[in-house]
């Protein structure tokens, strides 16, 4: 459900009109609009935003680990529309037990490396990704460094 105070923002209203089930929440803070999207709908919502709402640039994809809370991972997408001179943040939550989400590489090719980075550092898997390999850490590395239960110093446990 889209919170009532966000209905005045054209993008938020458009996404709700496109797929009301996909929006699970949102907020407007520090002049930045955030929409929370159901993880299973992320790819279709992104496609709508790119082709219908002119968010032709994907600025970055990253994740936040909320360990030990569940759902553990928050996937964060920052979109940029040059025509509208607007930015938009999308968030999708996925569980820590089986962190899988659909890739958005089909919408923006630039998602390729960003999703590889999230896979490498958080251990989130992306379905339909063309080349899901580690990108920053060595191929034979064990563990995912940016997870909150990964130690910052000392030997790996």
């Amino acid at each position: 459900m889209l919170p009532d105070n966000l209905k005045e923002y054209p993008v938020a209203a458009a996404v709700e009109a496109f797929d009301a089930d996909a929006v699970t929440g949102g907020k407007f803070e520090f002049s930045e609009l955030t929409l929370e999207i159901l993880a299973s709908k992320i790819s279709s919502v992104c496609g709508f935003l790119k082709y219908d709402q002119k968010f032709i640039r994907l600025s970055t994809v990253t994740a936040v680990d909320r360990f030990p809370a569940e759902p553990r991972f928050e996937l964060v997408y920052h979109l940029h529309s040059i025509d509208r001179n607007e930015r938009l943040r999308l968030k999708a939550r996925i569980s820590g037990a089986d962190p899988v989400i659909e890739s958005v590489t089909g919408v923006w090719r630039s998602a390729n490396w960003y999703e590889r980075e999230v896979f490498d550092l958080f251990g989130v898997r992306f379905t339909n990704h063309p080349d899901l390999r580690r990108i920053l850490m060595p191929d034979d590395w064990e563990g995912h460094p940016l997870r909150k239960d990964y130690p910052i110093t000392g030997t790996r446990v």
């Binding site: 930045e32 640039r57 600025s59 936040v64 680990d65 490396w113 580690r134």
Partner: protein, 408 residues
């Protein structure tokens, strides 16, 4: 093949081998190749001198800075941002400080804002000079490198005068500047501004009509604007393709809206166009620095926020309250209200974004850097596939990436 670390997608199947007569070979360019300015590794599959496919391999300079942020308090973490893009440390300081200040909703006094603009533009000059020198050196113009580093030295001396450091300045702090601007800084900057415009003409004399330079850069490194936007390229590369995009104009920060400058564009979309864009950007930066120098407002250089900004030495020694604040900030740090922000600035290389998540403690919960080099490098295969191997150096040089910025 696989024991060389060559990914499966590059390995030639037997059918392909039969089709090409086994002519294809894999060349490992980097990570110690001098022209990749750092530790970029490119796996090139060659068909004669033509590049059939290219796979970039990054991560050799991964330092885990994003993880490090989570155990530093907010003010300490400023020093990490210098080390991300070591050719534009002040741009990174600025992006990070603006993001945290947005969370704190701090009002920054005009003098600090203008000083930030002045130094950020000097950083742009510094970065573009290193780019021009090394890019020309790669293509074979040795003397440009020496000319550029002569002026860069002057800029580094200005940085040293302000902060005591030549490269890892950490001069912008949350709430303003680290130190009071030094006595006599105006003369130093004025002296630099007096010579610099004629020095840009000097570089242009060496290159712009040079037949070898034109031959090596015109029509090289083309990539369509649609591909650029889809692959995440930002900054001077986009402006070289005719798109007038600049965060300083589109979403002004740190009072950039008060400065009069142009956003240069070119339409040819090749290495030469990017060279022209950056040269013109240097002239525009000079304009901004001149305006900042002439119109520098008086007043405080750090925000009036005792719980965030360290008190003056004098006050700390004479006033009890100031001493308490000093002790609290130094030992524990300051708390930042819960929330998340994404602050974007225009770094010399393109769109630099800091995404900070705060949980209301003295340390960031998560910091993600959207660095321009990472986004740009992703487009290398699209840009070089199908071209000649000799053009790879010119093409990747025109991207102006820094590997510290890529791998973080």
């Amino acid at each position: 093949m696989s024991d060389l670390g060559v990914p499966e997608l590059l390995a030639e199947t037997e059918e392909q081998q039969a089709a090409t007569g086994g002519r294809r070979m894999v060349l490992n360019m980097g990570p110690q190749h001098p022209s990749t300015h750092g530790v970029l590794r490119l796996l090139l599959e060659l068909d004669g001198e033509n590049i059939a496919s290219c796979v970039p391999d990054i991560g050799f300079l991964h330092t885990g800075i994003e993880k490090e942020f989570e155990v530093k308090n907010y003010q300490q973490a400023v020093t990490l941002t210098d080390r991300v893009d070591y050719l534009a440390p002040l741009s990174n300081n600025l992006g990070y400080c603006l993001a945290v200040e947005k969370l704190l909703q701090l009002e920054i006094p005009p003098q600090a804002q203008w000083m930030r603009v002045l130094l950020a533009e000097l950083t742009r000059l510094n970065s573009h000079l290193v780019w021009l020198g090394t890019h020309a050196l790669d293509i074979g113009a040795m003397s440009v490198f020496l000319y550029c580093f002569r002026e860069r030295e002057e800029i580094l001396k200005i940085f040293e005068m302000f902060s005591g450091q030549r490269m890892m300045t950490s001069y912008f702090r949350i709430g303003g500047l680290a130190l009071e601007p030094p006595r006599g800084w105006q003369d130093r900057v004025k002296r630099f501004l007096a010579i610099f415009p004629s020095r840009i003409d000097e570089y242009e004399n060496l290159l712009t009509n040079n037949r070898i330079w034109l031959g090596r850069t015109k029509g090289v490194g083309f990539i369509s604007l649609e591909d650029m936007l889809d692959l995440g390229i930002t900054g001077p590369m986009l402006r070289g393709a005719g798109l007038k995009i600049d965060t300083r104009k589109d979403a002004p920060y740190s009072s950039y809206e008060k400065f009069d400058f142009e956003v240069p564009t070119q339409t040819a979309n090749d290495v030469f166009a990017r060279y022209q864009v950056r040269i013109e950007e240097m002239r525009q930066s000079t304009r901004i620095i001149t305006q900042a120098l002439e119109g520098m407002p008086a007043g405080p250089w750090k925000a009036d926020a005792p719980h965030v900004v360290l008190p003056d030495r004098e006050k700390m020694k004479t006033q009890m309250e100031a001493l308490i604040y000093h002790f609290k900030i130094v030992t524990e740090g300051f708390r930042v209200p819960q929330g998340e922000v994404f602050q974007v600035i225009e770094s010399p290389r393109g769109e630099l974004g800091y995404y900070i998540v705060s949980e209301g403690t003295t340390k960031p919960y998560r910091v993600h850097m959207r660095t321009p080099s990472f986004g740009n490098l992703q487009a290398v295969p699209r840009m070089v596939e199908g071209t000649l191997i000799a053009d790879v150096i010119a093409a990747i040089g025109s991207m102006d990436f820094v590997l510290g910025d890529t791998d973080r």
